[in-house]
Symmetry: C2
Subunit: 189 residues, 2 copies
């Protein structure tokens, strides 16, 4: 299903509004106003406020997962691979802080079916990180006692950036991504 320019504009307006006020605190009028449209225009292009969040969550998770997968595929060496994964996944949450905030903290507002679909996607992040750790352990590069827990912690380090990062206030995101990668390598060896 293709997404038209008008749909895209409303989705971007919804991301901004949801990130700023939360799903429940956002009105469809606000979304319409941010997109420069009338309140009725929202429903020409999207079925409901909830489906806006669903499309945002689906696209956001897919993009973030692609980012992590690309980093996973980019290297064979376990250390370089983990560095790439943490650095790129951190950078994604810094470059898309508002989108990241919505997809990480507004899951509760999805319908049960939509939420289940998104939660299934989320398990793949953990699987990828576990695979990267297992590889490093098998190669003798990593010393990790609790693989699941360490994978969770590595993802936490990246995801939590979206909670507080403000591109208008914070120092260069590249330094943050690099620091997280440095810390990640310390955590596994």
């Amino acid at each position: 299903m293709e997404i038209s320019a008008a749909q895209r504009r409303l989705l971007e307006a919804a991301v901004d509004a949801f990130a700023e006020h939360g799903f429940g605190g956002t009105t469809t009028r606000d979304i319409a106003r941010r997109a420069g449209r009338s309140p009725a225009a929202v429903y020409v292009h999207h079925a409901s406020k909830e489906t806006l969040l669903y499309v945002i969550s689906l696209e956001g998770h897919t993009a973030a997962l692609s980012c992590l997968q690309r980093a996973f595929d980019s290297c064979a060496d376990p250390e370089a691979r983990l560095r790439a994964m943490v650095s790129e996944f951190s950078a994604w949450h810094l470059d898309h802080a508002r989108l990241g905030r919505v997809i990480q903290y507004e899951l509760h507002a999805l319908s049960d079916e939509h939420r289940a679909e998104i939660l299934a996607l989320r398990r793949e992040f953990q699987s990828l990180m576990v695979a990267a750790l297992d590889d490093g352990i098998a190669a003798g590069s990593f010393d990790v006692e609790d693989v699941d827990g360490t994978a969770r912690a590595l993802l936490s380090l990246c995801i939590d950036l979206a909670r507080w990062f403000d591109p208008a206030l914070s120092r260069h995101p590249q330094a943050l991504a690099r620091l997280n990668a440095d810390l990640a390598l310390r955590m596994v060896r």
Copy 2:
């Protein structure tokens, strides 16, 4: 200002509701129902829905900060101190996951003045963690390049637990707190 039993019950109901549906997605009727009261009873004990969130945020941040401060004070040795801080602060977010979710992710719904007050409190978490790292560096126990960034990452590790932890599904919070402490020490040496 003392808080009566009726006020307390409504505050606890509000924490549950805000954690489940977000501030904007929660109705005062829902809060009243959870507390076993009529919708009007909310306004006998609290001035507004926003002041409920404010009191929750203030008490929550104060409690979490006390937790971190107690851990800071509990040890003189830099390594034992950092272990205590990360372990106790993690455990706090596991034991108070719903409260943690509200105070970490619903700040946007506070009035400007209330939010400024809470943000001032939040800077003390960072200061405490920086002090713990500086001590360890001065004592020659820690090797940390970016003190501010590492302190931020250590707090992230603890705080992000509140995002996903579900006491009904995850059975070993102590193991999570201990793992975070182990990872923290790896991050600084």
